[in-house]
């Protein structure tokens, strides 16, 4: 059974993606167009003008620097406008890690804001022109969970402050948010609980994923407290391709579609992914072309299952430069959830005014009903049959019910297995973690009380 037709690749899998699969061969290597941008056909390609920059990336041999830049910005702008990501009345918070993807996101959002500001300034009738959306920047400080040298950290923060302060006008505020802020105003207590929470998770991959979920909670909290209405992530095609495989390998096939759309409004503050169509190598190239400074001091190598997948995807991408896009396109065909649409908010005048400018291409009405419940830990929508089948668990009710509120993947890689450590684990969870699960399901009424009980025993919790 080495080669029945599903497994056999010679010629058959290439049929399906022939245009893209052939990308490598079709790139102009010979003929007369060598060295000229395939778009403007005037300027020399990046490979010629910036040989060191273009060495790794695929587009370097095809576009000139200007066309490449406008192509990238075009992808960003199309994602923003066709999904109504930013409306004039919005106040957006850019999640900034210091890496190239979020650096580009920040840059593009800034350019867009600057343009809106110009239009605003040029208009005489102030009351009839659209307002300019606001931009803030948030960096999540994860030093508590990862333990890095503090001198390096201060240096990195200084650099980031410099970067953000250079992106004016309009001025943008940089928030440095430590992970422990999800607990309480008292950071010392929060830090302690956070460290204990991290120690309670034995699985390496589980720990990394938990940190990722906490990061989102942090961003949500920062956005809510400072009046931001959207969170912009720099998640790019390459990252999403990894996530698709990660979710698949962790058994999260059901909820996967929720995580990889342009808009994710399951949170109080909707999260948007305007760089969903950009490859990481393109983003890297743009950073070096435009000398966008990146602060990579705290980019930790990914570990466990996630690390394995990162290197696997990297390998696939090297073998075929369109593989990441193919993976994302495949997963993009999965049916999204009802919360993957931009929610309509704001007052009437405002909505009408902003509607004028918005082209909504991809906003198909979604007939699927909102899922009834979300995972307590990772906030992924739960499959009904999974939650139902858990009721037969033995042991103490509280832990059994908590199991029911978590997805199978979190049950395995994050939650402790025995009842006594489960109690301890629950007491360490930040309160905000339970609110999403709480807001959703009716069937978990009992569970909510149970969890709430545990959480209230720590009375130092703020909202």
């Amino acid at each position: 059974m080495a080669c029945n037709s599903v497994t056999c690749q010679s010629g058959c899998y290439r049929d399906q993606n022939s245009v893209h699969e052939d990308g490598r061969e079709q790139r102009p290597l010979d003929v007369k167009g060598r060295g000229l941008c395939i778009k403007c056909k005037i300027n020399e390609t990046i490979a010629v003008t910036h040989p060191s920059v273009a060495a790794a990336a695929g587009d370097g041999g095809r576009f000139c620097a200007d066309c490449f830049r406008s192509n990238m910005f075009g992808k960003f702008r199309f994602a923003v406008t066709s999904n109504a990501m930013i409306s004039p009345s919005d106040n957006v918070l850019v999640a900034y890690s210091g890496g190239s993807a979020s650096r580009v996101a920040l840059q593009f959002v800034h350019e867009m804001q600057q343009k809106a500001q110009k239009n605003f300034d040029a208009s005489r009738e102030r009351e009839r022109v659209l307002p300019v959306f606001g931009v803030g920047v948030a960096y999540i400080d994860e030093t508590t969970m990862s333990a890095e040298a503090s001198s390096e950290f201060d240096k990195a923060i200084n650099e980031m402050e410099l970067i953000v302060s250079n992106l004016t006008p309009p001025a943008k505020q940089l928030f440095v948010v430590p992970t422990e802020s999800i607990y309480s105003p008292d950071f010392a207590v929060g830090r302690d609980r956070l460290t204990k929470l991290g120690d309670a998770v034995s699985d390496l991959t589980g720990k990394e994923d938990l940190l990722k979920h906490l990061r989102m909670l942090c961003l949500q909290k920062a956005a809510l407290e400072n009046g931001y209405t959207k969170i912009i992530l720099g998640t790019c095609t390459s990252r999403i391709a990894c996530h698709v495989l990660e979710a698949t390998v962790k058994g999260q096939g059901f909820s996967l579609a929720a995580d990889i759309q342009y808009v994710d409004a399951r949170w109080k503050v909707p999260v948007v992914l305007p760089l969903r169509d950009c490859l990481s190598e393109e983003l890297n190239m743009l950073c070096s072309l435009d000398s966008l400074k990146t602060v990579e001091a705290f980019q930790q190598p990914r570990s466990g299952i996630n690390g394995l997948i990162s290197s696997f995807v990297k390998l696939l991408q090297e073998e075929n430069p369109s593989r990441e896009s193919t993976i994302v396109r495949t997963a993009g065909k999965l049916t999204p959830f009802s919360f993957n649409n931009t929610p309509e908010v704001g007052d009437h005048n405002d909505r009408l005014a902003s509607k004028r400018r918005q082209k909504k291409y991809n906003l198909k009405p979604n007939e699927s009903l909102p899922p009834e419940s979300f995972c307590l830990i990772c906030s992924s929508p739960l499959k009904k049959s999974d939650t139902a089948s858990q009721n037969s668990s033995d042991g103490e009710e509280a832990s059994a019910e908590t199991y029911a509120a978590a997805c199978l993947s979190c049950q395995y890689q994050i939650l402790p297995k025995d009842t006594s450590s489960m109690k301890h684990f629950l007491s360490l969870l930040p309160q905000s973690m339970t609110t999403l699960a709480k807001a959703s399901s009716d069937s978990h009424e009992f569970l909510r009380e149970q969890i709430q009980d545990f959480l209230l025993s720590d009375s130092d919790d703020g909202t």
Binding site: M1, T7, Q9, C12, L245, I305, I327, R329, K417
Partner: protein, 349 residues
């Protein structure tokens, strides 16, 4: 589902975690439990029994063909099927069905294994050969077209050969030895190449239910490592398949870090939210041989026609020209249909 098995806690020690009586002889690949040999066999067979019962794979009195390649999977499948059929009284009539592709040094060896199984388990064996069905052996085809694309022929021909053999045996069902690793790998590959339609059905335990001979995979949740017995491994000599190798290696790496990952991939495959209106090709029958086909001629006939006319690239070439030519010949159905889009398991004469 099978993931429930992990509930048993590994107790460390030297005794089997199941019977707590005999010494543990191996670490179960699926769950990493320390377990004795006797319990392993019991658990292994019992799991497959439960998969068969829970999924209602068979009905009493059915005739069932076991697709037997002579490899380890199908050899174990033949053993387990005959054993469970006896032990739990499924009331099935079992047959072995082998395809002889005509690959010297590969298939003739493994056919010997199948013949041994025939005697060992007392199951009647039917061998259908490419030579008899199509007039070509794989050796002859490779001689004509070279090592490139030969898997296309082999794959298309084998699918049909199995169906034809099954029809000759007048069986109600065909079981194949696809294991959990195979299915996990197929899920990944379908994601990697963007085949959403196939992704939606590659995890079903029964395929082709609408056709006359459905196929099922009793080993869907069974780990390859656990199937491994002292049989020789059979790698096709004409298939140095680097691409599948990639994914396979990745799965093995995953399994090393987290054995459960294989089952998780299958769970994901089952849970993917894929709109049910995925377009299926309209099915008709091949005008030439009567095999089910969405085109005027089935793929095997197209390939065969090419071979016989000395145009072996017919049907496998990616140049639209040849495809269009073919389609004009056959009445101009759409030329975009690709090699793999034929549903397996249906046959109507």
């Amino acid at each position: 589902m099978a993931s429930v098995e992990t509930a048993a806690k590994p107790r460390g020690g030297r005794f089997c975690t199941v019977c707590n009586d005999r010494r543990a002889a191996l670490k179960r690949p699926k769950t990493l439990e320390q377990i004795c040999k006797e319990c392993f066999y019991a658990v292994f067979e019992d799991e497959i029994h439960r998969v068969i019962v829970d999924n209602h794979l068979f009905k009493r009195g059915e005739r069932v063909a076991i697709g037997a390649s002579g490899g380890k999977d199908s050899t174990v499948l033949a053993y387990v099927m005959s054993e469970l059929n006896r032990r739990h009284d499924y009331g099935l009539d079992l047959f072995l069905l082998s395809v002889d592709e005509g690959i010297t040094g590969y298939r003739d060896d493994s056919l010997e294994t199948v013949k041994r199984n025939e005697i060992q388990y007392g199951l009647p064996l039917k061998v259908v050969s490419y030579k008899d069905l199509y007039g070509w052996t794989m050796d002859e085809i490779v001689k004509l077209i070279g090592l490139k694309n030969n898997c296309t022929f082999c794959g298309v021909f084998r699918r049909q050969a199995l169906d034809r053999g099954a029809a000759l045996l007048k069986v109600d069902k065909l079981v194949t030895g696809h294991n959990a690793d195979d299915i996990a790998e197929t899920v990944l590959l379908n994601i990697l190449r963007g085949d959403i339609a196939r992704l939606s059905r590659c995890t079903s335990i029964i395929t082709g239910e609408d056709g006359p001979i459905p196929r099922c995979k009793p080993f869907k949740y069974t780990y390859e490592k656990e199937i491994r017995l002292d049989y020789f491994s059979t790698e096709c000599i004409y298939s140095p398949n680097a691409y599948r190798g990639f994914a396979r290696e990745f799965i093995k790496d995953l399994e090393r870090i987290r054995p459960r990952a294989i089952l998780d991939i299958i769970t994901s495959g089952e849970d993917f939210r894929i709109a049910t209106y995925t377009k299926m090709p309209e099915q008709g029958n091949c005008e030439r041989c009567g095999y089910i086909s969405s085109q005027k001629w089935c793929k095997a006939c197209v390939l065969l026609d090419g071979l016989n006319r000395g145009l072996p690239k017919m049907g496998i070439s990616r140049t639209r020209g040849l495809d269009n030519e073919r389609n004009q010949d056959t009445g101009g159905t759409n030329g975009t249909k690709n090699l793999q889009s034929k549903q397996c398991g249906s046959l109507d004469f």
